[in-house]
Symmetry: C2
Subunit: 489 residues, 2 copies
């Protein structure tokens, strides 16, 4: 075995080297060509909403800030890179003394975001702006994916409690921890992930596993023991043997014998297998008849938004859903396809030169230039009408009507009056210095819930939602056309 | 904002509290009932191979060992738990002085593993053996999922190079880092994930992104600059504008003008979009005609085992595949459903009392008792014939014929002669002390490749593979039947 330091899941974490190797070969290339300090602009954006949905929920900005604040190449990083025989000493020396100098803008977490609009914009020396690509994508892609999935699931639950239960099936430790964080942002009420509660102050919940029941001689003994330990939080898992023949009768017996004499009420019963609709209806009737109409019915077992909607439409009587693997991995579509593209550079006179990447596929052509996003709201309903991506210097005069149009099918036009606008992006770094403080996770969740009230229900449909308008300003549209025609020549 | 310590992606990592909250409520319950030191046996196993495959590749044991070696509740963990008003001071005091005392067995990484056999067995005080459930599942589920997916993809590539390119679309930072590790175990040749190279000594590779090409005035300038910086590793991305009209001609021009005069050969060209079959065939012909038959063709762009097999069957001329999001998230089936079940306890006389969990679904009934696994090999071909799960005290006499039978359809029987057996599981912890050292990742990869030679090709098919036999010994089968009949009574 080599005598080198081994990576340990419990090590201190320096994620600076969590980077695609080509960012390093390119960075070294910029140095060799002496263009490392050329100012570049990159947009991070996505092209498609997962699961055929109409919106995504932005998440991950707080972790992105932490990463950018802690960029730091250790001596062992430098030694490792030197051993590759690819990098110049000048470049390695630069890394050794690395100091982050970029400007960064982001859409704050919890916002409703849409395809083809920048979620993050970076401006700075190309060697730096390029380097941070991997972690920007990794961070925003992951948490936005899970927050969006959680939001769909919570919408299906229609006001009922949703608990995130997925840690054991997450894709890695951060998948569990930040997945729990993003789930709360997306609308979940609580999580089973204890460390997420400790650090993000989001409520952790949990009762018993089948093993508790198995460990005792009988199910009744197991329930009795639990009720004695947790008379104020007595929630029993009733499907280890047989829900209706054994689990529920034993639970009610224990409620009657242990809780009732103390004047306590049971919290709930949980079912983790079998036919949810049938069992919950039966259990509800039996619990009500036994004098426990306040005992909640909790279900778990491979749930997602479709199953939840389906069993509720069949009249299942459920108070609370525990959602595991299908949420924590976004199982139905586990990839969030955010990309990071060069959109402009500055020339020697600090003039912005927009850049475009063309493609056979019209939707894949990038929007060039240094931009900002306006969200346009109706003055009466306060509903969001459209987003307008504009060049950064553009200002909208809210006192005047605003004509917006589809960026490809340009004959689709609309003139908006009686509106106001809000700029979506905030500056989070100014020349490498953090200038934005993230709210707490519960504040973000609350913010996101309020934002949802400003979205037309048509946008929020599970399938075939109305496509929210993300338009380009006249000037940006014109610039794009110019560049396209020049490229094609 | 609260004045509490905030979790930071760059913090030192103590994953002790990455635990489902119910493990803690149960643990506290065991204390209250004074059964915390009852000796329990848990099996971790899975029930189904993802993607309809015939086998999985075991991975994650090294990280599991690290976690178990570092279980440690800090004062702030204890304070946090106390604030929940659920846990007794006696229990909190126990956590404060926590010392891991369990025995742990595991199947070493890289092994071919199959449904319903234990991958990990834990024996120890129930309070401890229960507590570590979440991290055992999280660790083994994630890495086994990705190693298995990687193995399928590498089999489709049929000896061609496969590079793991997925960091930016991984589900969290560990998803990228340990996903890269598991990809190599599964058979990938290299990864783009730099930190995985630094810590696991698996080769990191990478060249350029589209942004490098865009940054220069022309594609030719960009390629020329690259060839000048990396004359010995000149691999060019040729699809920023148009592969055949612009990318490839510019690449060949640069090979001719920059590399040839230096006596250098190009490494490769990469295509990241468009029709792979058509483009690679065209490119191969043009490169050959231009005098570069040794220039490799590398493709990327949402590849998986099915697309790779498909384009190769159409005659695509590809030397190397870069596989991203569909590998790093196991997109087609992103959940590995490992479970952790109580299978036995010891009574006060240290006698093992087997436990069973029954289910309507026959496949979901657990295998009771403290067990071990024999893999049976044919003495001539050295191919694996079957696995036999036996009670831990059972010994197979290889000199005698061995009758094995299907554990449910028991009339399906076979007598094996001319065989030898190997015990699959190794002891990794003895009363809380590590007694096994993980090989390096490349050693595991090599081991796994050798193991694949001992598997019948019928097991390795992508679809409808032959089901590898995982049978129960006569004694174990009998024990299970006894318990089942007792339960049903």
């Amino acid at each position: 075995m080599e005598n080198l330091m081994r990576f340990d899941v419990t090590n201190e974490r320096n994620l600076t080297m969590l980077v695609d190797f080509y960012e390093l070969t390119m960075a070294n290339g910029y140095f060799s060509k002496e263009i490392q300090n050329k100012i570049a602009y990159f947009d991070m954006y996505f092209r498609r909403v997962p699961d055929g949905g109409g919106y995504c929920i932005m998440a991950g900005v707080e972790q992105l800030i932490q990463y950018l604040n802690n960029l730091n190449f250790t001596n062992s990083d430098i030694d490792y890179l030197r051993s590759k025989n690819l990098f110049s000493e000048e470049f390695l020396n630069y890394l050794k003394n690395f100091k982050f100098e970029c400007d960064v803008w982001a859409i704050p977490e919890g916002n409703f975001v849409f395809p083809n609009q920048p979620l993050v914009i970076v401006r700075g020396p190309v060697v730096q702006a390029q380097f941070i690509e991997t972690m920007i994508l990794l961070t925003i892609n992951h948490q936005t994916l899970i927050a969006t999935k959680a939001n769909r699931i919570c919408r299906a639950a229609n006001g009922r409690t949703v608990m995130e239960f997925g840690s054991r099936r997450a894709q890695g430790y951060d998948g569990a921890i930040y997945g729990a964080r993003a789930s709360i942002i997306g609308g979940c009420d609580s999580t089973a992930c204890t460390i997420a509660d400790k650090y993000f102050h989001v409520p952790a919940v949990g009762t018993m596993a089948h093993s508790w029941v198995q460990l005792f001689d009988t199910e009744y003994d197991a329930f009795k023991a639990w009720a004695e330990v947790y008379p104020d939080n007595c929630s029993l898992l009733i499907d280890t043997y047989n829900v209706l023949k054994s689990g529920l009768p034993n639970a009610i017996k224990v409620f009657d014998e242990v809780l009732k004499p103390q004047g306590k009420r049971p919290t709930g019963i949980r079912i983790d297998s079998g036919d949810i609709t049938y069992l919950t209806k039966k259990c509800r009737k039996i619990l009500d008849a036994a004098g426990y109409p306040d005992c909640k019915i909790i279900v778990s077992n491979s749930l997602d938004e479709h199953i939840i909607r389906d069993v509720l439409s069949q009249g299942a009587t459920i108070d609370s859903f525990g959602v595991g693997e299908r949420l924590i991995t976004a199982k139905s579509e586990p990839v969030f396809g955010g990309v990071y593209k060069l959109v402009a550079v500055e020339n020697n006179e600090n003039k912005i030169i927009p850049k475009i990447k063309i493609s056979e596929n019209t939707e894949k052509i990038t929007n060039p230039g240094f931009k900002k996003i306006y969200r346009i709201y109706d003055k009466e309903s306060h509903n969001a009408i459209a987003d307008l991506i504009a060049l950064n210097h553009e200002v909208i005069d809210e006192s005047k009507p605003l004509e917006i149009f589809h960026p490809i099918e340009t004959w689709k036009r609309k003139t908006v009056t009686n509106y106001y606008v809000k700029e979506l992006m905030v500056k989070v770094f100014e020349k490498g210095k953090q200038v934005y403080e993230s709210p707490s996770v519960l504040e973000i969740k609350e913010f996101s819930k309020n934002e949802s009230l400003k979205m037309w229900p048509e946008i929020l449909r599970f399938e075939n939602p109305h496509t929210y308008y993300v338009d380009l300003s006249e000037d940006l549209w014109g610039l794009k056309q110019d560049l396209l025609h020049k490229c094609i020549k």
